[in-house]
Amino acid sequence: MNTSATAANRQFATETLESAVIRFCGDSGDGMQLTGGEFTTTSAVYGNDVATFPDFPAEIRAPAGTLPGVSGFQVNFASTEIYTPGDKVDVLVAMNPAGLKTNIADLKGGGILIVNEDAFNNNNLKKAGYASNPLEDESLKEFRLFKIPISRLCEESLAETGMGAKAIGRAKNMYTLGIVYWLFDRSLEPTIKHLTDLFAKKKNQPELAELNIKALKAGYYMGETAEMFQSRYVVPKAKLAPGKYRQISGNEATALGLIAGARLANKTLTYAGYPITPASDILHFLSAYKNYHVKTLQMEDEIAAICAAIGASFTGDIAITASSGPGIALKGEGIGLAVMTELPVVIVNVQRGGPSTGLPTKTEQADLLQAVYGRNSECPCIVIAARSPGDCFDAAVEAIRLAIKYMTPVMLLTDGYIANGAEPWLLPQVGAMKPIEIKHATEFNGHSDDADGEGNNVYLPYLRNENLARPWAIPGTPKLEHRVGGLEKAENTGNVSYDPRNHQRMVDLRQAKVEKVAQDIPPTEIQGESSGDALIIGWGGTYGAIHAATERLLKRQQKVGTVHLRHINPLPPDLGDIIKRFKHIIVPELNKGQLIRIIRDHFLVDAVGINKVQGKPFLVSELVAEIEGIIAR
């Protein structure tokens, strides 16, 4: 089928938009995540820039039709570069009353509202807490409401397939997607291909592939023929950097980046983890990539996971563990052992809402101070953060590179928002990626005072190179047998030492080593002005919102500059100078103020925070308003 040809048959008003935000919502069982994902891929393949925000319930399957059971997926697609899934929604697709109820507040006045009329029965209305049917009273009059009996239409169009009612019922999301594809003049091809791959190839259920494709087309034709919509919308291609792209979520990018790091080092990757939302997918992805010399260990808990990683690191593998808030808290003691034994381990923290079990499926940025300070005693580790789904790849490679170069654990912070969110990712050039060099010690590196003769005759596991890193001799290497452990080490020899001055020296050295990482930090890029009224300092997954807000502020002639930190411990060496060039220092964070604590401490500057702890990302508009408020003070 050539959908674009078909679409051309009739004439519709066509409106061209710079960007549009669609949110699909419905019951967890309604397949909204798949629907949204398909729309995103199709738009990306078409050439739009896209940004997404999946939002699903904490329960596996909350009771059908209830408010906690609502699952949503928002996609922003545009002909310009965009950085966030959008503050407000242009088109809301609500598959049931509960979906409508929880999402309608985000629909723009005058926005398009497509509902599955069939789902608005008494039972569902009651479950959603509606006293009367909103489709029939005045409450939705500010929107362009399209009531479509999606369930019935879909059923009718699939009746002749002879498939069961359940399968047909489930296909209504594809029917709906067909409608939306028609509305935005999109090709059905990518989705048809994906449905074929998914059902026919992977799950070996070609009849399901056919059914869903049929539903998709039926929805599309409905748009075409039903004369329901007055106009169609076109969001033209964006001018994106040329190259090959793919959709990627943060967790997948993290997994790929970790493998890439190991491949660059030409090493086996040993990942030891324990499932926890929203970090589990890293384990899932990695365990599917075993042919990349990946071993995945699902351990009995998070403590075992960090400890197995330490064991694997001692043995010479690229050793990784990942978790989220509560699991990272459990790893504190283990990370201390890695700091003391000076072994490279990467700990990924996909941050989620807290404290305690908190809001497991929601995003937050509140583990920064834990990352920097959350261990007993003086226990510095390198802390870096990823800013977007695709950036997780680079950040993961960087984490491995630093861990090995400095022989020390690195904490990589991502968050639920970028981990689950996806964006088009410009595939990096393999040729441009620097190999990660590992030289395991194989020879003696010191001379023992007790011994006769000259030349090296002992292995000193705590001798240091110019980066203050110690050598890495691995088991199986003759003559370099040595022991490491959590007791304080004597300089050079690594023997247990209770000597006061040695302790001071080693505490200083471990600190100095982490501070040395400053030499690896490139000059800080500033978005916008390089001096002026306000410097905005961000980190992590708020990048998109802050970037977009900065663009808007710059357009409004505000004299603002923005830096977004990859490196948190240590901070970029030029940050102090940049700070001095601005009147206000503003630190937006999805916490009660954490990076700001460190900024204030280091630079003694009266930085002001913009803080939000609602399990949700910043809206661009709220950032713009807050920042303008601060500047106007």
Partner: protein, 341 residues
């Protein structure tokens, strides 16, 4: 592994320049000596040994072995060791732990390592006390034991390490004593048997803490009593014991009883079968306080695939089936599209 030409090691090759710092008279010395003595006989390369431990007096062990070693954190040695073995299955990994380290804070890791059958040799020094923290009761301390933290006597029912190991389905389970002044010294033999077992090998060693729980196991190690209070397990052989080998253990339905060989024939005694987990469990409950000899030797030994072998096999199979992954392939592994200039 092919047995290529190996240097001839002696016990001394497995020593380090670090002063051994256990209390004079501590049972740990005897175990250290035994391990150092056994290793040269095993025909493995010295550089392939890794000794992993947790925290406790016993866990100082790696510092005294001239091999690779990790003195980990309290209770976590099984996890650290699993990481070592996962990364390099060729290594000979030994784990030294205490009754507190291995069964209190570390019980869970030990359990999971054992059930996964990671090919690691576990030496659990059971002195029924926390030595390093100066004398609190441990999970194996007997009920009523007065210690620093139980001035009125312990109220915990103790755990039996052998029953525990069998309950979590370890594939090799054995017991011996640090010293033996009254019978055969089987420590070396048990260590060798453990070393030669392909899979997790769990060895409980009754160990005298000379300072905080002195003589706890004298019944099993001293001349007068050892042969009356212990019985050696030998696969396929009847359970005979006593200074004069005049007593035996008989199975009566599912209960055990001590009988005199005056009255009962050897053939009617219980014959040990290392492959029978329920029998091993039955034996693990024998206690000299109830008039039964306590078995030493190998309770249980069966074969199961090892975790690290399967882990590696899956990786290799994936490579075989899907081809070796490289960077280029990795990055292009999803469905992609191209944006033109």
């Amino acid at each position: 592994m092919t047995q290529i030409e190996l240097p001839k090691y002696t016990a001394k090759d497995f020593a380090t320049d670090q002063e051994v710092r256990w209390c004079p008279g501590c049972g740990d010395y005897a175990i250290l000596a035994a391990v150092r003595k056994v290793l040269p006989d095993l025909n493995h390369r010295k550089e392939n040994y890794v000794f992993v431990s947790g925290i406790g007096c016993s866990s100082r062990f790696p510092y005294y072995m001239g091999t690779y070693g990790i003195h980990g954190i309290h209770g976590r040695a099984p996890a650290v060791a699993t990481g070592v073995k996962a990364a390099n299955p060729e290594l000979d990994v030994w784990l030294v732990t205490g009754d507190g380290d291995g069964l209190s804070i570390g019980g869970n890791h030990l359990m999971h390592m054992l059930r996964r059958n990671v090919n690691i040799k576990v030496l659990l020094f059971n002195n029924r006390i926390y030595g390093l923290t100066k004398g609190q009761y441990s999970p194996t301390s007997l009920e009523g034991h007065r210690t620093k933290s139980t001035p009125m006597g312990s109220i915990d029912h103790p755990i039996h390490p052998i029953s525990f190991a069998l309950g979590v389905e370890a594939t090799f389970v054995a017991r011996c004593t640090d010293v033996n002044k009254g019978g055969l010294n089987i420590l070396g033999d048990v260590l060798k048997a453990a070393a030669n077992h392909r899979g997790s090998a769990f060895v409980e060693i009754y160990q005298d803490c000379n300072v905080f729980n002195h003589q706890a196991f004298f019944y099993a190690t001293e001349k007068d009593t050892a042969r009356e209070t212990t019985v050696l397990l030998e696969h396929g052989k009847p359970l005979v014991f006593g200074a004069n080998r005049d007593k035996g253990v008989r199975l009566n339905s599912t209960r055990l009883e001590v009988v005199s060989l005056d009255k009962v024939k050897e053939d009617d005694l219980l014959f040990h079968d290392e492959t029978d987990p329920a029998l091993a469990f039955l034996l693990s409950r024998m206690s000299h306080t109830q008039g039964m000899p306590e078995p030493v030797g190998v309770f249980h030994r069966i074969h199961k695939p090892c975790y690290e072998d399967m882990l590696t096999a899956q990786m290799n199979k994936a490579i075989e089936q899907r081809g070796e992954g490289n960077l280029e392939k990795l990055i292009h592994s999803g469905s992609t599209w191209t944006v033109g200039e």
